[in-house]
Symmetry: C2
Subunit: 331 residues, 2 copies
């Protein structure tokens, strides 16, 4: 298998990206195609030993900044994201993995290169939400701030296929995020989307509210991209805020400080449980190709895990399954 | 001053409600009118000593369940919520404080008793969000799941008046919750609402995203009632989830357990910082009367604090200020 990896994705690009790519080549024995500035990649590769698999370079001189606007970046055909997605489109590689600018990946994939799978209303960004040692897939988490009810049901179809084939859930349970679990709660969008899903053949388990996101009542949770983005950010911001309070309080008296020191291993285990940086990434679904996008803060291990997800998605033919799932839904 | 207090509001009604009412009477020297079933209230009052102020009873036999539907409850004119709001309307009391069913209070106040202040598009539910030893007022947190941009700007007007007069902020900073701080982020609603506020004379400081809610960049944060409700619940659910992880991890090894025991005072201080049960409540704004609604889990101290807020709102004539603020805005 050949996986294109954006060498210019993480905040520490190209360091973590290349380290993650080499890790994946060595562990999986696949060919990792590093996409980015050839000279920078060559220089950094000297610090790594490739024992298995293969590492190639695909030159792309332009590096898209994390805060660049999607409307601007789609114009450049020599960015690492553009070049890599074009390679997926041409079949030169089997999938693309990046820790870069999510909006740019979404725009270039949808408007310029891979384009939508026939019948897909809108491609959708997902995120894996890890609680209780169980991963839920959330979608949309940012691609579509304003959506229609029919789009939400398609998010559910695509998320469910991914959850089944890549996350290995049997008959994934689909839920709709709302402001209350009762059917009467919600806004116009969620009430209509819930109606559509209830009347479909989907394994729809109903509305969930935030407290239920912390349990394992569902495998796929759908929402509009505005709410999804805010919900993810609220989780991260709150967890970080509570952690900051703990650190501050532990400085306040000697016993607390000692207590904090003794409990450090426990805190490290907790951090790993709310930390998303080892999950790697999550798919952009609905485009004609496997695309996995992760956080810019990902470590080499996170990147390797994202590549692992891409490999599974290719092996299980997620794109083919979505193509038939959407065609079947349209009938 | 005479404040009506719902005796049937909290989850432990009428116990905490009455304890809070007596606490307020003794501390503030005001008259607290307990609204609810006369016999139950009389029986419970025997367990309390009233040293200052006065406690009266206003009989209301029907108790509205926490999960009762607003469309049903508006029909009963003998519920504690209906009787109390009617007393505010008739001028028999100066304000109403309740820990009861928020949807019921909103519906009965808006449709049956107090009704809207002239010019107010939609009354709005608020919440006080306590981070960094600074209270932000959030609105809407649930009354209006689907809103128009002009409503959001009115939420800002009303929230700002309350923040100035009751929370004592000079020139409150108004922000709009969005999925990113940049002007280009948002959905159709927030982009239009931001435009309106930017062109107004309001002290609008721009978009904020969740991470900024944990700092003190604004005093009033506006959003639609669907998002606001989810954001509050996400904060509570995440803080609770992290606390649960900590408890679980502290049982995993002896050192962590010892560390946790030593750090207990620090944890208690943290709990108080993320706990909203001593804040008391927050106003329903836009109706013709002072109404403060709090959590059903409130303690007696929380209820006393909610009554304190109601007293300040009456003393500062918040209703008059909103009436002229809205009239002025309409010009």
């Amino acid at each position: 298998m050949r996986i294109a990896l954006d060498a210019m994705g993480t905040d520490s690009r190209p360091l973590s990206d290349i380290a993650g790519g080499v890790l994946a080549a060595n562990e999986f024995g696949d060919t990792i195609v590093l996409v980015g500035d050839q000279r920078q990649i060559e220089a950094e590769l000297k610090n790594h030993a490739i024992n298995s698999g293969k590492v190639e370079i695909l030159h792309a001189p332009v590096d898209i900044a994390m805060d660049a606007k999607p409307t601007e970046v789609v114009k450049s055909v020599t960015s690492s994201i553009y070049v890599a997605l074009d390679a997926v489109k041409k079949g030169e590689v089997d999938a693309f993995v990046t820790m870069g600018n999510t909006g740019a990946v979404h725009a270039i994939a949808t408007l310029k290169t891979l384009r939508r799978i026939p019948g897909v209303k809108r491609p959708v960004l997902s995120a894996l939400f890890p609680v209780n040692n169980h991963q839920m897939i959330f979608l949309d988490v940012g691609a579509n701030p304003d959506v229609k009810p029919e789009w939400v049901t398609q998010f559910a179809v695509m998320g469910s296929i991914y959850a089944q084939l890549v996350l290995d859930y049997h008959k994934p349970r689909i839920a709709l995020l709302s402001n209350g679990a009762e059917d009467t709660k919600g806004n116009l969008l969620t009430r209509e989307a819930a109606d559509l899903m209830r009347r479909s053949k989907m394994n729809f388990v109903g509305n969930v509210e935030p407290v239920q996101l912390m349990t394992s009542v569902a495998d796929v949770v759908v929402m509009d991209g505005f709410v999804g983005n805010i919900v993810l950010k609220m989780f991260e911001a709150t967890a970080h805020y509570v952690a900051t309070l703990i650190r501050q309080e532990f400085r306040n008296d000697v016993l607390s400080m000692l207590g904090g020191a003794l409990a450090r291993p426990a805190f490290n285990r907790i951090r790993r449980q709310v930390d998303t940086s080892e999950i790697g990434g999550a798919p952009l679904l609905g485009v004609n190709g496997v695309v996995i996008i992760g956080h810019g803060q990902n470590s080499a291990i996170g990147i390797k895990n994202a590549i692992q997800q891409a490999r599974t998605a290719v092996r299980e033919n997620v794109i083919g399954a979505i193509r038939s799932g959407i065609a079947h839904e349209a009938q």
